[in-house]
């Protein structure tokens, strides 16, 4: 028997990170019914993961508090899998199916890490930088463990500082970006004082940990789980024994739900107007899916989306200046951590590219498109639906990876069999 729980709301917010929380709070200020749905066990997104009951920053605490006091209904552990009718979405939790009817929707689906395959990256205990941080936030003991943090992006520094504070021995931070790019970013920070201060604090927390620029992992080794990693820096190769390799190459936006709803993308991001409205009427979008920008930009965009989605355009307009400020910062940041072409030669012939279907690099050479490669090799056809290998092959082969069909996550057959017309007493 299928248990279907139905919800009717004025504003449906999907995603409970900073953008979604700010959007839900702002939308509720106009007196509308707001429902916030998130797939994680608790709210806060990735940056505030595990902090809902115990915030680690004043900013998180103040937003959690605002949302708790606003008239916002909260639902966690539920992911959206399909659109079943006009303005009706299907969701799933561990043990139930949900139907959400809404008038206006705000997408705040965040981002995930980009992973680039290298020999040994499929060994247990080689994981994302944010990935390892997420596990430690959820209780994984890390004290005394030797960790190499590698890849690219500002997340590496934040993760290293967090793991160090939790007692890990962070051996090195290998950042692939060039020295000149990182120095130029450091000069830019002077125009963003709060960010400059954060950088100073991070530097202080990390002062004994090497930050190796123009350095990247070329392979990981071990029996049963990782025992060490080889790092390349210029013409030099170093072997570092370790317990964990925490490796991510900046972020990719989660645009699957936006694509499912037919929202237009531009350069891989959801296209929005000045009020954060997508090409689809009544669907707004805020945070990483419209452009990687971090927590400050996500909070401003979320507020603009929340106000605009409830017709409070003046309140939304008042935030345009702050949004422009953080967008300038974001574009500098993303430029600094652009991927170097040498990383395209990291995989060898037998390196697994698609971890769901175990498709090695050598089987993917020679195809001209993602679609052709999928049909011939099953690359991207497993349960993650190309979320991990898609961004990798986009970089490695230059393929365009932009298609999604329902369900956007593996779903139970009984959920998919259910339709609103059946519920309303129609004949099956």
């Amino acid at each position: 028997m299928i248990r279907v729980r139905s919800f009717d709301t004025d504003v449906l917010v999907v995603g409970g990170g900073p953008a979604g929380l700010a959007a839900a709070y702002s939308a509720a200020q106009g007196g509308r019914r707001v429902l916030l749905v998130d797939e994680n066990p608790t709210l806060g997104g990735q940056i505030w993961r595990g902090e809902w009951m115990a915030p680690r920053s004043l900013e998180a605490a103040s937003w959690f508090d605002r949302v708790r006091r606003a008239r916002v209904s909260l639902l966690t552990g539920v992911r959206i899998v399909a659109e079943v009718a006009e303005k009706t979405l299907l969701g799933e939790s561990q043990d139930a199916t949900y139907e959400f009817r809404y008038k206006t929707m705000i997408l705040a689906t965040g981002a995930r890490e980009r992973f680039l395959p290298f020999p040994g990256w499929t060994l247990p205990n080689v994981m994302g930088a944010g990935g390892l941080q997420a596990l430690v936030k959820m209780g994984l003991p890390i004290r005394g463990k030797r960790v190499v943090v590698a890849g690219t992006g500002p997340l590496l520094l934040a993760v290293a500082a967090y793991l160090h504070a939790q007692g890990a021995k962070v051996l090195t931070i290998a950042e692939q970006a060039s020295r000149s790019q990182v120095l130029s970013l450091a000069r830019t920070l002077l125009r963003f004082p709060s960010k400059a201060w954060q950088a100073v604090l991070l530097r202080g927390q990390l002062w004994r940990i090497p930050y190796d620029l123009e350095c990247w992992p070329i392979s990981a080794y071990g029996e049963g789980s990782v025992q060490g990693v080889l790092l390349r820096q210029g013409s030099r190769t170093r072997e570092i024994p370790c317990d964990y390799v925490a490796c991510g190459f900046h972020l990719v936006p989660n645009v699957e739900l936006a694509l499912l709803l037919g929202c237009e993308l531009r350069d891989g991001y959801v296209r929005v107007n000045e009020f954060q409205e997508t090409s689809r009427a009544d669907v707004f979008c805020a945070g990483e899916p419209v452009g990687l920008g971090g927590v400050d930009l996500a909070l401003v965009e979320g507020q603009i989306a929340g106000y605009a989605a409830t017709g409070r355009l003046d309140a939304a307009r008042a935030l345009f200046g702050r949004r422009a400020h953080w967008r300038r910062f974001a574009s500098r940041l993303n430029r600094a951590f652009a991927l170097r072409p040498e990383l395209k030669s990291l995989p060898d012939a037998r390196t697994i590219i698609c971890r769901c279907e175990d498709v090695p690099f050598e089987r993917l050479r020679g195809y001209s498109s993602w679609k052709e490669a999928k049909l011939q090799t099953r690359c991207g056809m497993g349960p993650c639906q190309g979320r991990i290998c898609g961004p990798a092959v986009e970089f490695l082969f230059g393929w365009t990876v932009e298609s999604h069909r329902p369900p956007i996550f593996p779903a139970r057959v009984e959920s998919l069999m259910w339709s609103p017309s059946l519920e309303q007493g129609g004949h099956p």
């Binding site: 066990p41 994981m127 997420a134 789980s225």
Partner: protein
């Protein structure tokens, strides 16, 4: 504040603080290869946030549960491949 939750991993009784995800419970009990890939490789978690499906396990006879997104509950029966 921190209550204790009792569950079974591959038949072995364990206890963890409440709020611990199933994945973290597995890792804390020495299971780092969570599943076998289609060609038989041992795999551990990659993304930690419910995207990669590398940490999937069987919980109370329901297969393909992403252990990183599910909190441990009393009486849970968790099985790895």
């Amino acid at each position: 504040m921190s209550e204790i939750v009792s569950l079974k991993i591959n038949g072995m009784p364990i206890t963890v603080p409440s709020g611990t995800t199933v994945l973290v419970a597995l890792l804390m009990n020495g299971i780092v290869g969570i599943r076998r890939s289609v060609t038989g490789e041992r795999r551990g978690p990659l993304c930690g946030i419910g995207v990669c499906f590398e940490c999937r396990v069987t919980i109370n006879d329901q297969p393909h549960c992403r252990s990183c997104q599910i909190l441990c509950q009393n009486g849970m029966d968790v099985r790895t491949e």
